[in-house]
């Protein structure tokens, strides 16, 4: 027999390999027989069964959107009408440039300021239907509202109460189990649906949407973003001389195709006008505080006047009465003297 491989090489000595197989299962130890074995959790502790398998894109988007909606106090909703990728790119470039300018201005006035949000303000396209479902869960589902009875309690292997020999009904839990109350669970979706409440943004949640999310309600950053994405008389777009890059055709065509529909500010639905009002608050939250203090001072003055007024009128009434009585007394005395 001629081996192809053995050409030019000395023939290898054949190796006898020996394999051992485990044919017997080890007998259970004494401790296993005397103590029942804890059940094993059939899913990772941070990934309980969800409506759809967690590796699906839809599940991950839902999870991402709930997290986004819970963490962002200010969110603008835009409709994007067939923007091209280079238009998106140019708009994002202009937006980040404008926001960086705001940050630099804040740094110039106060070097220790914490209001630097330019890197965390993102413009992203979202899947509308999943966003709507996520928003419902965020707004109307409260996991603490579900009573944790023994049936719908999540049993984990570390729970000492279940270290018994009785069979566990939820050893292989189904997503339908009311024990699961995370945002992706069926319970969350069902209860949020059944709540029958409205958050006011429902009519906006259709069609192609993009979100601009802010990590904090910062009117200065909002004003900069509005002047780039939705220019209006109150928030004019930068002049060609000040910012020639903004007047490139890609940016201009893209901005024309973006429509500001509304916003969600601290859980409230706002329309375009109201968003512009938020953007117009001068000095941010500090400015708003100053305004509130002025208003309350005015109210305080009024309240003191009113309260003082009641006392003052009582004082005058009593004083008047005293004067009258004194006069009467004098008259009476005068009369008595005359009589006497």
């Amino acid at each position: 027999m001629v081996h192809v491989l053995s050409r030019g090489f000395p023939a290898r000595p054949s190796i006898q390999r020996e394999y051992f197989e485990l044919t017997t299962i080890p007998a259970p130890s004494d401790s296993h027989i005397s103590h029942p074995v804890s059940p094993v959790l059939r899913y990772p502790a941070n990934q309980p069964p969800s409506h759809k398998p967690p590796q699906f894109r839809k599940s991950q988007l839902h999870r991402q959107y709930t997290s986004l909606l819970r963490s962002t106090p200010l969110l603008l909703i835009f409709q994007h009408n067939n923007l091209k990728s280079n238009e998106w790119m140019s708009i994002r470039r202009e937006l980040s440039a404008a926001l960086t300018t705001v940050d630099q201005a804040a740094l110039a006035t106060d070097p220790t300021t914490a209001a630097l949000h330019a890197n965390n303000i993102k413009l992203q396209i979202v899947q509308t239907g999943i966003l709507a479902a996520a928003l419902r869960v965020v707004e109307f589902f409260d996991p603490s509202s579900i009573p944790q009875t023994t049936e719908n309690k999540v049993r984990t292997a570390t729970d000492p109460a279940i270290n018994t020999s009785r069979s566990l009904p939820d050893a292989r839990p189904l997503p339908d189990s009311p024990a699961f109350t995370h945002a992706l669970s069926r319970t969350a979706h069902r209860l949020a649906r059944a709540s029958g409440r409205t958050h006011g943004l429902e009519p906006l949640l259709s069609g192609p949407l993009a979100l601009l999310t802010f990590p904090a309600v910062s009117p200065a950053h909002l004003a900069a973003a509005l002047s780039i994405l939705a220019p209006s008389p109150a928030f004019p777009a930068p002049r060609r001389k000040a910012n020639p890059a903004y007047h490139e055709p890609a940016v201009q065509q893209g901005v024309q195709k973006l429509m500001l529909l509304g916003a969600r500010v601290e859980g409230q639905a706002f329309d375009g006008e109201e968003v512009r009002w938020v953007g117009g608050i001068e000095g941010g939250i500090g400015g708003l505080r100053v305004r509130l203090v002025h208003m309350l001072q005015g109210v305080g003055g009024g309240v003191t006047n009113v309260l003082e007024g009641a006392g003052r009128s009582l004082y005058f009434a009593v004083e008047g009465r005293r004067g009258m009585l004194e006069e009467e007394e004098k008259k009476e005395k005068g009369g008595e003297e005359k009589v006497g």
Partner: protein
């Protein structure tokens, strides 16, 4: 939807009403380069505004269409637009341009 023959699109709507969905979907159906071929005016009304949701279209041959979106859904609008656009495209074919 055939949008080649549109020259002018004017939309007025309050985004917080149900018929606005039709108007927004119509705008989303226009191609990316629509703004270089036609004039598009979009007026977004504030949330408190009441009044009809209007879509006003002009075609290349001068025909004007005033559509009341409170009654029409996006499919009805597309049927209306396509009916006239097909006519125009047939004329264009016959004239050989």
């Amino acid at each position: 939807m055939i949008t080649r023959f549109l020259t002018d699109v004017t939309v007025r709507f309050n985004p917080f009403t149900a018929p606005a969905k039709t108007a927004r979907t119509f705008l989303a159906h226009l191609p990316p380069n629509a703004r270089s071929n036609m004039k598009i005016n979009t007026a977004l009304l504030p949330r408190t505004a009441t009044g009809p949701t209007k879509l006003f279209l002009k075609f290349k041959d001068g025909k004007e269409m005033d559509l009341d979106l409170d009654k029409l859904k996006i499919k009805d609008v597309m049927v209306e637009v396509d009916r006239h656009a097909r006519l125009l495209s047939r004329q264009e074919e016959l004239s050989g341009s």
